[in-house]
């Protein structure tokens, strides 16, 4: 059963807490917390009620009366009686009734002419429909969306971040409830498939297909994850779709797949076929009705006559009682009762409203003794639907005007203000406890809600305080504390003298014996001068590269078995190299589908349910809190705000430390969750070294990279700050600026306005892990490849500068090997470290030069530079194309 709370007009009336007999009455109004706090909870509790037999307080315990007097004239007043002089109460309550409307979604692919096709998506229900869509390009793997090419976007489209477009559906014709949007497809483009979900802005509900995005393939070889529409397979196999129910995160939207589809299909173009498919959907539509209540005193009998009228359709029963003795307890009035009245469990009366003579709506008359103080009621529409007054009982007070105290001014309202509801709720709670002390469970639930609300508010306050408190204090301040004990080991920096080797690329999984291959290179890597090795993600993964982990405790992967992994770690420890595990904490692939067919239930040792999944990604219907960071759309994002999740992750990290022997972590996609949790994890697992991947875009203006990338590095520094410096971060800023500087011969970019390095390394060198390439940016993926042929300039920069440099595997085993080896040995020989002091001596169009710790000089760029021939005696240490490094002897 469910109760539908409705908004009374008088919500903030100063007279809500009215007075009886001149004294203060405590009439808490307003409703259950769930409505104030999150609608999500409302539904979950609603479901809970439905499943159990007991009635939650939503419908019973939580009822409170609300007193509204006739003198509050700011509401719509419906005069229903001619004897207005005797009217003591007159109120029109708007009520919302939720109806289930059924209709269909259809998808039509039509050929206009050769290579010009049209995809139409429509819906037959009224609503404010939005098509939320993106495309997959040829060669894309995974289920990530991309922005469609400009010419595909219908007018009125809005880009959502960098992966989706929202296009409103237009009404087909005025007065018609059909909405449709048409997208023109040009098959010349490299779009492989179109993905979409439908969103109803009115209700906030998302409509998906089989719990996944709708996917319309435009090519033959689009992988079928079971959510294809109109593909040859999917198309003919619609019968198979019968089990599909989508439960969006908002109520009342089901897409039931029992659809028939069809239309002539012709083979055309790249095997594309025209098709037309329909899927029935249902939506809860709010109907606006009203209940008007008039109470008057009958001059002859002195009785209170209450008339209740409503335009609600169907049968309506008034479930009511009366109040006496200044008490809001429901009591049964003396007989006679109105017609069609039955006694309900000795607690209330039920009176069915009669159809009015004019056929428009229902009405009922209640004649009650004069000494009664008021009438309380709720409306019952059917067994499962009740209407109350925004969580409260309707309350009709029978005060004669003489007894009415003078109305108070607005003072009360300003006093209560915007937390009034919450505070009222606490009061209700307090009363609840005292009057229903046996209902512990309910009370508990309310308390949980309050606690959750407190947590939510505190988190909000925290995040704003964090961002408004100037996060960046200049380097000297940041550094001063850990500067003094020079060789203090901290997880953000290791010893300060670390040099990382990324020990894999995007193809490393292919041999199936990567761990063994790597082991063989241990001596070699150690002799090159590396101190830390970063291994690929070790867990069982849906994708072979390991970044779509599934069972975190299963460490048999495409790189080798757990035993081979342990052996490898041991081997590297033997040669004095620490080993970092690649920990993917942001997301995790599910083992099972939920009842809606959405993959969000986990198995294995960490058999989390959907509470472990963030709530704000419609694809995965998580029941956790909103994500504390950005979402990664290809897999359920883990909700790190859940205690049980954090506990499990900490345990897992500690297990990896112990079982595998990892010394630290490379943390994948840390943009996805708050850095404070990372601190928590670092504190628990006590790594020797840890570095997070916080990768977002630099600032560009008109396609040109901005000189000032402070905002970009600030975001990274913020993240490090959030971890309390327990982890470093890859210096994406430096990589980006090196790209621009080297590619376009703009070496002036390499000094910020203060004469410091312009990347993270200029602000917080000890936490910056500098790199020029990794498995994503380079390798066979090449998402953001370092300017070709200029890699050595990049290494000449990062291997001489402060920060902790990381060298990519591919570069070690390339022609650059000997040059890199010389730079590594120089760095070790001269004991350059993450906090080395850099003095930029030249940053011009074609040359950048710096002296580090007064013992190493370097220049990159075609331009000329020689270190000053003064007291120091410089000798060339390494030299190559467009770079040169000197050291003092």
């Amino acid at each position: 059963m469910s109760t539908v709370p409705i908004e009374p007009l008088l919500h903030h009336s100063p007279l809500r807490r009215t007075s009886l007999n001149g004294a203060r009455t405590f009439l808490p109004s307003s409703l259950n917390l769930r409505c104030h706090f999150t609608s999500k909870k409302l539904h979950s509790i609603g479901r809970g009620i439905a499943s159990g037999n007991s009635l939650g307080f939503l419908s019973s315990e939580r009822r409170r009366s609300i007193a509204i007097r006739a003198s509050s004239s700011d509401t719509a007043v419906v005069e229903t009686t001619s004897q207005s002089d005797d009217v003591i109460f007159n109120e029109n309550f708007p009520v919302q009734r939720i109806d289930k409307a059924e209709g269909k979604i259809y998808v039509r692919l039509k050929k206009v002419k050769e290579n010009d096709w049209e995809l139409s998506v429509g819906c037959s229900l009224p609503g404010k429909w939005i098509l939320h869509w993106g495309v997959s390009y040829v060669g894309d793997t995974g289920s990530e969306w991309d922005q469609p090419p400009e010419d595909m976007r219908p007018p009125g489209s809005l880009a959502i971040k960098d992966y989706a477009i929202e296009t409103p559906l237009e009404k087909l014709s005025e007065g018609d409830s059909f909405h449709e949007v048409t997208i023109n497809l040009n098959l010349e483009s490299s779009v492989a498939a179109l993905n979409f979900v439908l969103k109803d802005e009115e209700t906030g509900a998302w409509y998906q297909h089989k719990g996944r995005d709708f996917k319309v393939p435009l090519l033959d070889d689009v992988p079928d994850d079971g959510n294809l529409i109109g593909s040859k397979k999917g198309f003919g196999a619609l019968g198979k779709l019968s089990n599909i129910v989508v439960k969006p995160d908002e109520p009342g939207a089901d897409v039931q797949e029992k659809g028939k589809s069809s239309s002539g299909s012709t083979k055309e173009g790249k095997g594309l076929e025209e098709f037309y498919e329909e899927m029935p959907i249902s939506k809860h539509v709010a109907g606006d009705n009203s209940v008007s209540v008039t109470a008057r005193k009958c001059p002859e009998t002195s009785k209170n006559i209450v008339s209740i009228e409503t335009d609600l359709p169907g049968d309506v029963t008034v479930h009511w009682g009366v109040c006496k003795n200044g008490n809001k307890k429901w009591e049964i009035p003396a007989e006679p009762h109105p017609e069609e009245t039955s006694l309900f469990k000795n607690k209330a009366l039920r009176t069915r409203l009669q159809r009015k003579d004019d056929g428009n709506g229902l009405s009922g008359l209640f004649s009650l003794d004069e000494e009664l103080e008021g009438l309380c009621f709720v409306l019952k529409l059917n067994e499962n639907t009740w209407l109350n007054n925004r969580g409260e009982d309707f309350y009709v007070p029978f005060l004669t005007s003489a007894a009415l105290p003078t109305p108070k001014t607005n003072q009360e309202v300003s006093d209560s203000g915007f937390t009034a509801e919450i505070i009222t709720e606490i009061r209700n709670l307090a009363i609840d406890i005292s009057s229903h002390k046996n209902q512990k469970t309910n009370v508990k639930e309310v308390q949980e809600n309050i606690l959750q609300e407190i947590e939510k508010l505190a988190a909000e306050a925290y995040s704003i305080f964090r961002s408004t408190t100037p996060a960046f204090t200049p380097e000297s301040d940041l550094e001063s504390e850990d500067e003094k004990p020079e060789i203090k080991i901290s997880s953000g920096t290791g010893s300060g003298f670390e040099i990382l080797c990324q020990g894999f690329n995007w193809e490393s999984h292919k041999s199936g014996r990567w761990y063994q291959e790597l082991q063989e290179k241990a001596d070699e890597l150690a002799s090159l001068g590396f101190t830390v090795l970063w291994l690929p993600p070790p867990t069982e993964s849906v994708s072979p590269e390991g970044y779509m982990p599934k069972d975190l405790y299963n460490l048999n992967s495409r790189y080798g078995t757990i035993d081979e992994l342990k052996e490898t770690v041991k081997r590297f420890h033997k040669v004095g190299i620490k080993v970092l595990g690649d920990a993917v904490l942001n997301h995790r692939c599910a083992h099972f589908k939920n009842s809606n067919g959405v993959w969000n239930l986990f198995g294995g040792r960490l058999n989390w349910d959907d509470r472990a999944v963030v709530a704000d990604d419609p694809h995965f219907q998580g029941r956790g809190n909103k994500s504390s960071g950005d979402n990664f759309h290809a897999a359920p994002n883990i909700d790190h705000s859940q205690d049980f999740v954090r506990k499990d992750i900490k345990e897992w990290l500690c297990w990896m430390r112990e079982e595998v022997g990892y010394d630290g972590w490379r943390l994948d996609f840390v943009r996805g969750f708050w850095g404070g949790y990372v601190k928590d994890y670092m504190d628990a697992s006590k790594p020797y070294f840890a570095v997070g991947e916080y990768w977002d875009s630099l600032s560009y203006t008109y396609g040109e990279m901005d000189y000032n990338q402070d905002a970009h590095r600030q975001r990274i520094v913020d993240w490090i700050n959030a971890t309390s410096g327990a982890a470093g971060a890859f210096d994406v800023t430096t990589k980006g600026i090196l790209h621009a500087a080297l590619q376009k011969c703009e070496y002036w970019r390499l000094s910020d306005p203060k004469g410091k390095p312009p990347g993270v390394v200029g602000w917080w060198p000890s936490r910056a892990v500098t790199f020029i390439e990794n498995h994503d940016t380079g390798s066979t993926q090449g998402h953001w490849r370092f300017p070709g042929g200029k890699e050595m300039q990049g290494y000449a920069y990062i291997l001489t500068h402060p920060g902790t440099p990381a060298v990519f595997f591919d570069h070690i085993y390339s022609d650059y090997r000997s040059e890199i080896a010389s730079l590594l040995s120089l760095r070790n020989r001269q004991k350059l470290h993450c906090r080395s002091e850099v003095n930029i001596v030249k940053s011009e169009r074609d040359v950048y030069a710096a002296i580090i710790d007064e013992k190493v000089a370097m220049k990159i760029g075609p331009g000329h530079y020689e270190p000053p021939s003064g007291s120091q005696n410089w000798s060339v240490a390494v030299e190559g194309r467009d770079y040169k490094v000197w050291e003092t002897s």
Partner: protein
């Protein structure tokens, strides 16, 4: 006045709701309640434990305030026994830079969310630091309250109480200085700031010696402070007595009654230095020396006091049998401490006359100078200005001043415990706190608590211990201070547990009251609080 409706004791989490029953129409001012040791008025005559009471309780403070207003009741003393946390009200301080020097409210959204969270948590109120340098920034007599008024309005809307701290000092972190025009005067005329023997000025607070010297454009600092208080009173008249329940007067550096004996040194290894070298101090000293017949003693401060970074006993002044115990020492320290005492008196009387009749309680803040207090000389206290001739109680004179001005004393450092102090510092915050409390008790001064600025290990536990202390009732505790750290998951969780612990403690006696099944909801006066319930199928 407030009514607490206290919930089911069998559940762990308890919420209190404070209701303002304005129409109820009775006032404590006209009633004598001192007989009730907990200052609780029960409207039930049944003493049966089976009855559930809805209690109206009033803190000693609010009762006392009424008493002051009517100018008749004697100063109500806190009750010594049957101590429970029930009567402890919890306040939380807002960030020092809540209002920027352009009168903007900083972190507005964060504060609003934070206040709601605290309200839900059951916190009584909020402390708002109001800086002289922000309000009267530009010109004397030109007050700009808008930022602070906006904060007061938010606090009021959320339904919390407000405790305003009028700060006549500046702050280093965040940087808030004295009013610009004062700073200008300070540059032109040497000697309005505290100065150490090296001539280094402490520019965040005016010297006690200029209190009654017309150094500020022809006005004395006391006159300026008075103007500030009056302006505050009229600007906040709508809030005084209802939302604003307390005002703390800034008595010195960081608002605390003390000399800035460490200036801004963060290194607290030493005992600090005497700050008596500004022009006005020196001339007052000279005058005092001449009047006591020792003109040679009035030429400067002690020559054998240690420097900031020196151990107290590295020179002869503070050692056993050292100068501090000599006749000269007594002469100097008596004078030095008398300036502190009279400064407190001046500020507090300015405030008590300004806020008379507003129904707010006045407070002053005392530091907990626990470093080196195991040394006989207790040098940290001496450099900060706490001394009493002949080995008498060093806090007695101060407590007397507070009592005289009906002012409560906020004691800092209630979170400090002996076990977490470094043994080398010879410090004992616990015993010093007990000492000050005793002095207050003797003088009938109500004590409020506050934690030290930085969070310390075991802090919350120590605070609860202190609040439970039965010998001196602390009925108000201000937790410092809201901000990013405060709301960080780690800290906020600990804070929540702390608040809950307090609340649980509060209910211990109540638990038994509802053991029986006959517990009922009672009504107050003719108003009802009955809850309607309805069972439906």
């Amino acid at each position: 006045m407030e009514v607490s409706v206290i919930g089911n004791p069998q559940t762990k989490k308890i919420y209190r709701a404070e209701l303002t029953y304005r129409e109820l129409g009775f006032r404590f001012g006209s009633q004598v309640i001192s007989g009730d040791s907990r200052n609780r008025v029960s409207f039930l005559t049944h003493q049966s434990s089976k009855w559930k009471e809805i209690k109206i309780r009033s803190s000693p403070r609010s009762v006392r305030c009424e008493a002051i207003v009517s100018d008749q009741a004697p100063f109500l003393k806190p009750t010594p026994n049957s101590r429970s946390l029930e009567s402890v009200k919890l306040f939380v301080g807002l960030p020092l830079d809540t209002v920027s020097d352009c009168n903007n409210v900083n972190h507005l959204k964060a504060i609003t969310a934070g206040l709601k969270a605290l309200k839900l948590l059951g916190v009584e109120g909020i402390e708002l630091p109001i800086f002289w340098g922000v309000v009267e920034k530009e010109a004397p007599g030109k007050y700009e309250w808008s930022g602070y008024l906006a904060v007061a309005e938010i606090v009021k809307k959320v339904g919390l109480k407000l405790h305003a701290s009028l700060s006549f000092h500046g702050s280093k972190h965040p940087e808030i200085s004295l009013p610009d025009w004062v700073a200008k005067i300070g540059e032109a005329e040497q000697g309005i700031y505290f100065t150490d023997r090296y001539g280094k000025q402490y520019k965040d607070c005016l010297s006690f010696a200029v209190d009654d010297v017309p150094v500020l454009d022809g006005k004395t600092p006391m006159e300026v402070y008075r103007g500030f208080c009056e302006s505050f009173k009229s600007a906040f008249s709508d809030y005084l007595g209802n939302t604003i329940t307390g005002i703390t007067l800034g008595l010195g550096p960081d608002g605390e009654l003390r000399y800035p004996s460490h200036q801004h040194e963060t290194n607290l290894s030493g005992a600090g230095e005497f700050q008596c070298y500004d022009k006005h101090m020196l001339s007052a000293l000279k005058h005092y020396a001449e009047s006591t017949g020792n003109p040679l003693w009035g030429l400067g401060g002690p020559h054998d006091a240690p420097a900031y970074d020196q151990q107290p006993c590295s020179t002869s002044f503070f050692s056993d049998g050292g100068s501090w115990e000599s006749q000269y020492g007594d002469f100097f320290l008596t004078w030095y401490s008398s300036l502190l005492t009279s400064h407190a008196d001046r500020v507090l009387s300015v405030a008590s006359s300004a806020f008379k009749g507003t129904g707010v309680s006045l407070c002053g803040k005392l530091p907990l100078l626990h470093q080196w207090n195991k040394l006989r000389s207790q040098p940290s206290e001496l450099t900060a200005g706490f001394y009493s001739s002949g080995g008498h109680d060093r806090y007695e004179a101060i407590a007397e001043i507070f009592a005289k001005n009906s002012c409560r004393m906020i004691i800092l450092g209630m979170d400090l415990s002996d076990e977490h102090q470094s043994p080398a510092s010879l410090s004992s915050p616990e015993s010093l706190l007990a000492h000050i409390k005793t002095s207050c008790k003797r003088q009938g001064v109500v004590v409020s608590g506050q934690n030290s600025a930085a969070s310390v290990p075991g802090g919350f536990e120590r605070i609860v211990e202190n609040l439970k202390d039965e010998s001196v009732g602390v009925d108000l505790f201000t937790y410092q201070r809201m901000g990013a750290v405060f709301f960080s998951p780690e800290h906020f969780h600990a804070f929540t547990v702390f608040v809950r612990n307090m609340n649980q403690f509060k209910l211990s006696s109540y638990d038994q009251a509802v053991e029986g099944d006959k517990a009922k909801t009672m009504s107050i006066g003719s108003g009802t609080t009955g809850a309607a319930s309805l069972q439906t199928a």
